[in-house]
């Protein structure tokens, strides 16, 4: 089992550009959540996808959008990049459910906006 895989691992983009990050969930998982982690901070919840729909969203602008495919993999898109978007972007997968849901994380994509 490959666990959660994210690509690319590192990325440098210019302010104003657009970026797409990718995530493949752990086998058997149907829910994908995305987090942004600035240096020295805890992960901030961006949104969660289940059954190809955005189910939950954190306090992020519409520049942040996503998609989930029928195979449960997911993409995070960020438009009109700002310097402040530089961060580690983490993807987590889980099985949708109640009190015993454990999330598994990928190694993250380090995005640097210059």
């Amino acid at each position: 089992d490959a666990g959660v895989t994210q690509s690319p691992t590192h990325l440098i983009k210019t302010r104003g550009q657009q970026v797409t990050l990718r995530c493949s969930p752990k086998s058997g998982h149907d829910t994908v959540s995305w987090y942004q982690q600035a240096l020295g901070q805890g992960p901030q919840f961006i949104f969660q996808y289940y059954e190809e729909e955005e189910r939950q969203r954190g306090n992020f602008p519409d520049r942040f959008s996503g998609h989930q495919f029928p195979n449960y993999s997911s993409e995070l898109n960020v438009n009109a990049l700002l310097l402040g978007d530089s961060a580690l972007y983490l993807c987590a997968s889980s099985i949708t459910g109640g009190a015993n849901t454990e999330a598994f994380f990928g190694q993250g994509t380090r995005l640097t906006v210059v």
Partner: protein
Amino acid sequence: SQQGEEDPQALSIQEGENATMNCSYKTSINNLQWYRQNSGRGLVHLILIRSNEREKHSGRLRVTLDTSKKSSSLLITASRAADTASYFCATYWNTGGFKTIFGAGTRLFVKA
């Protein structure tokens, strides 16, 4: 604002000592999870405690949960240099859908 807040922000101890980290949260939860993160990499799940549980053990880890005080603690016994990492608590709760919310973390330094 963050749902979970860890205390202390940073902790430095000698190898072999115990390390205790605390987490407070604001609303009712379904479960609380502790994660470890090494050098800004992905998070590793350590332990999950459900809202109806009070204590849980896993190897050198002991987690307690006090829902009346909305707080949890993580105890690492007989710490090792390899335990040096950031530790985060995450609360899993229903806000019209389930999501996991993280605190800012405790940075643990274990000196050999």
